[in-house]
């Protein structure tokens, strides 16, 4: 999205000022949340600004202030949000610790935690990042003249962070069709991802799928288990996205402090479910996450002792759902499984197979890839004869 100039980020349109002042939050003195010394006047604008900004709190909803600001009225939300995924990024922290071979994020070397806070943690959110401004990750700026918005804006908030995969997929900004749930003016991100999921329920979960707050297709589509032969045959065995999502984005490598270091690519892979305890499917869609064995070198973590402890192909829910996809549509007269089951060389590209991994990630350049992904390759799980 186009960024705002520095002055635009804090500008309130004079025509909107009455709307702000008449709103609940507009009746609270600026300094109650932002501190500063608005009574002190200077000789000119610059002096006045410097004096008024003495002790200014740029982000009143940041963790060190939030209980005194937002929490004054919204204590329950602030309280549960302390442990939320959005505010803490537990999953990413836990996976980093696990790959580094330490018991928890707190046990990581100080340089690594410092690097993480500097390079990665800006993607966490505060109340203000969703309800007043754009998130810090996209350089902030008022959503609408410092008006507080109850529902975060899809473009300025949600996909500002979740844009390159979820946003582009959902809105159909690549070659594929937009998500069937994207109905302009009708459905919003929060219709599935509600406030309880965003704010959390006060429990510290290990990662984003390790709870029931995350929506599932079946929450709404709860009467279709036997609605056709495909469903009758595969319901419960496969996540819905195995059949109903289009191709989606994967990344191979990210270097701490530098960002993604290899081009992303559009692909589609069905693999074994790496999270069977949290999501009860056998087969799911997987994406390669931006990690490699030297990802954290810049933070002083030259090698990941436990790199192969978990797959680099991760459980994913592409946001480009369609009823009819290349796997659910077959030509007239063709068997119903013709577009999906492996038959000779047909349809092999949809599955995470050991031999294709060896080609994509040769051992010379990616020594740990095959071992890391052994739990999710489908070779041994496919029906007899498919790979002959």
């Amino acid at each position: 999205m186009p960024q705002l100039a520095a002055w635009e980020k804090v500008h309130i349109d004079a025509e909107k000022i009455d709307q702000f002042l008449n709103s609940t939050h507009g009746k609270i003195p600026c300094e109650d949340c932002h501190g500063g010394e608005p009574e002190i006047l200077g000789e000119n604008n610059e002096e006045h600004m410097n004096a008024a900004h003495t002790g200014l709190i740029h982000e009143p909803s940041s963790p060190e202030y939030v209980e005194e600001t937002c929490g004054f009225c919204h204590a329950n939300i602030v309280d549960v949000n302390k442990t939320s995924m959005h505010a803490n990024l537990w999953g990413e922290k836990n996976f980093l610790a696990e790959r580094a071979g330490v018991k928890s994020y707190d046990a990581l070397p100080p340089d690594v935690k410092e690097g993480y806070n500097k390079d990665c943690f800006k993607c966490h959110t505060t109340c203000g990042d969703c309800h007043i401004t754009r998130p810090d990750a996209v350089e902030s700026g008022f959503l609408d003249n410092h008006l507080f918005t109850r529902t975060p804006d899809r473009d300025l908030n949600c996909t500002a962070c979740h844009g390159s995969r979820v946003g582009e997929e959902y809105l159909g900004q690549r070659d594929e069709q937009r998500d069937v749930h994207y109905i302009p003016g009708a459905m919003h991100c929060v219709d599935c991802h509600d406030a309880t999921e965003m704010h959390g329920d006060g429990t510290k979960y290990e990662h984003r799928f390790a709870n029931d707050l995350v929506p599932r297709c079946e929450d709404c589509h709860n009467t279709v288990a036997d609605s056709n032969n495909y469903h009758s045959t595969h319901w419960g065995d496969m996540s819905c996205t195995v059949c109903h999502s289009q191709e989606y984005k994967s990344c191979n490598s990210c270097h701490a402090g530098e960002g993604i270091t290899e081009p992303s690519y559009i692909d589609f892979k069905i693999g074994l479910n790496p999270l069977p305890e949290d999501r009860n499917y056998k087969y799911v869609t997987l994406r390669h996450i931006p990690i490699s064995e030297d990802t954290y070198t810049n933070w002083g973590l030259a090698e990941l002792d436990n790199y192969t402890v978990m797959p680099t192909w991760k459980y994913t829910v592409p946001h480009n759902i369609r009823r009819w996809t290349v796997r659910t549509e077959v030509d007239s007269g063709e068997a119903c499984y013709g577009a999906c089951h492996i038959d000779g060389t047909a349809n092999r590209e949809y599955y995470l197979l050991r031999d294709s991994l060896e080609v994509q990630f040769p051992a010379s350049g990616y020594p740990g890839e095959i071992e890391a992904n052994e739990p999710v390759v489908v070779d041994e799980a496919l029906p007899a004869g498919w790979l002959n």
Binding site: I12, C30, G36, V138
Partner: protein, 70 residues
Amino acid sequence: MHTYRLSLKQALTTLVLLIGLLALFSCEEESDTIVDHEYDSSCLSCHTDSDALLALAEEETGGGESSGEG
């Protein structure tokens, strides 16, 4: 001369009413601190003035232009 005596029920009812009134006024008082706030316009005088903000931003950064696509 008549002597008025409150029954226990009447006394309790009166007490409850008094507590209710007290709570009502307490809430209103708390609400009024927000509603009746005299807005100090010094922050807004600058933050609604795009020319002043732009001038200050340029003085601070020597520019003030957006750095591009996010």
